[in-house]
């Protein structure tokens, strides 16, 4: 898995996610890692996702290295920078939010470190060499949000972001409109895919997840399906095929279906 080489070579890139669970039992994560090994170009190891306390990303990354997943220092060559979920939306609502750096400032900081300086400008003994990724929401429900997302994408690039993963996309034409404007930035974009598991999940995301819009046709298709799992994966594979010529890669957020990612890649003819 050499994400940097894959991204810089211009080839079609596939990334997915491994989410550490609550507690010290890492067997699930390890099993998923084994299944994904050699099948994807990179794996996001999420850090306290959904503002829920879990095993940290750094510790999990270190364990993945021991499994031989990325034999370099700590295994961490790539960092995805996001603002993160607010504590009150998670399971430790009394925790103090920090936000002393925002995502643009953290990208800038990592770029400083790659250049041999810390955030305060002090010189480092030995530089970092991180590939910095960032996120963007390609579909918004207000003009202000659309314009802010594009302006921030440009700003993130200006301070060192080298690739983008997006929020989950279900509408090909909306993503095409976004890419028409984002193409000018000439930066690899990996379109987000979340396979649908049920009608309830689609409706939940439409109601509660910012930037996710599952069209009624897809919800109907899920509703009528006898085998929801097969249909969910088929829809995801179809979306990948419809979207892949618009961008440079795909980022699959399987949310519990990590072990089905190789199957999905086969269905989408990416494996």
């Amino acid at each position: 898995m050499a994400l940097r080489e894959a991204i810089e070579s211009g080839k079609f890139v596939v990334t997915t996610e491994v989410g550490p669970l609550k507690g010290t039992d890492t067997s699930e994560v390890m099993e998923v890692a084994e299944i994904l090994k050699g099948k994807v170009d990179g794996v996001n190891v999420t850090d306290q996702q959904s503002a829920v306390m879990r095993l940290g990303s750094l510790a999990t990354c270190a364990l993945l290295v021991q499994k031989g997943l990325e034999p370099v220092f700590l295994g961490i060559k790539n960092v995805l920078v996001i603002s993160g979920d607010f504590p009150t939306l998670g399971d430790h609502i009394d925790a103090k939010e920090v936000y002393d750096l925002d995502s643009e400032q953290l990208i800038w900081t990592i770029n400083q470190m790659n250049g041999g300086h810390d955030v305060a400008g002090n010189e480092l003994q030995g530089k970092t060499d991180f590939l910095v990724g960032a996120v963007v929401k390609p579909v918004s429900d207000t003009d202000a949000s659309t314009e802010l997302q594009l302006a921030m994408m440009e700003k993130k690039i200006s301070v060192g972001a080298r690739f983008f993963q997006t929020q989950a996309v279900y509408e090909v034409d909306a993503f095409e409109r976004f890419m028409k404007r984002a193409a000018q930035f000439k930066v690899p974009v990996l379109v987000g895919i979340i396979p649908l598991k049920s009608v309830g999940m689609a409706r939940y995301m439409n109601k509660n997840v910012s930037g996710v819009f599952v069209p009624e046709e897809l919800i109907d298709e899920m509703g009528k399906a006898e085998d929801k799992t097969a249909t969910g994966l088929q829809i995801a594979a179809r979306l990948i095929n419809d979207l892949k010529d618009l961008c440079q890669g795909v980022h699959i957020m399987a949310i519990g279906w990590e072990k089905k990612v190789p199957e999905l890649l086969q269905m989408a003819k990416l494996a």
Binding site: S83, E97, A151, M152, Q167
Partner: protein
């Protein structure tokens, strides 16, 4: 009261780059007692700006800039002078700058930094909030404070969590960054969105020890030291 200090003149001049005409607004409340935005400071700023080749279209001092109704009624007779200016330079706390921004369809520039007193005390505020961060960013954000209008206090843009323009953390309030976008659009300054705001100097948000000192505190100190002397 909110305590403020004037920004360095170089920083203020930087804000006014590319602009020729400015209206200066001071406040006879906290800024007057901080000696940062009373009439003497407004007049001194006028002289400095004219020396730097700017046209000052007008100036005034309003009792409490934090009161939007007062801002509107006191500026009405001066409307021509205000509208002739490219922007307004506001010598007051962060609340005053924001309340002027909300009432006047012109770019606003903060002339002061509001400094922390380690907790707010009895000020007369509208809906605008100032975190007394000591390093006012309102020039870059259309006169709407990203530290208080955005639940996460993000300085460079929205988190992406808003739905229909509402904040994901507190859905009862609008996304602060969407408000900032709309305001910048309204005053023709959308280019500000591309400006990278470097990591903030949070150290400036800590109250300075001398500002926590009160006359009562001084009295206690004196009593303690005289008791020590007796022992």
């Amino acid at each position: 009261m909110l305590r403020s200090e004037q920004k360095p003149f170089d920083e203020i001049q930087g804000y006014l780059e590319g602009e020729k005409k400015v209206f200066i607004l001071g406040c006879d409340g906290c800024a007057q007692s901080s000696q940062t935005g009373g009439m003497p400071q407004v007049l001194a700023m006028k002289e400095l700006l004219e020396g730097a080749g700017k046209k000052v279209t007008g100036h005034t001092v309003i009792d409490f800039l934090c009161q939007k109704a007062l801002v509107a009624s006191r500026l009405r007779p001066l409307e021509d002078q205000v509208m002739e200016a490219d922007s307004l330079l506001v010598l007051t706390c962060g609340v005053g700058v924001q309340s002027v921004g909300a009432m006047v369809q012109k770019p606003v520039h903060p002339g002061c930094n509001t400094i922390s007193l380690g907790g707010s005390r009895g000020e007369w505020r509208g809906t605008e909030r100032c975190l007394e961060c000591g390093d006012c960013l309102l020039h870059y954000t259309g006169g709407i404070c990203p530290l208080t209008a955005c639940s996460k206090g993000l300085r460079n843009g929205a988190c992406g969590g808003a739905s229909d323009g509402r904040c994901e953390v507190s859905p009862e309030k609008p996304c602060g960054w969407e408000l900032i976008y709309e305001r910048l659009k309204e005053v023709g300054r959308l280019d500000q969105l591309k400006q990278f705001i470097p990591p903030k100097e949070w150290n400036k948000q800590r109250p300075r020890p001398e500002l926590l000192s009160t006359s009562l505190w001084a009295l206690e100190q004196r009593n303690e030291s005289s008791e020590e002397g007796r022992g």
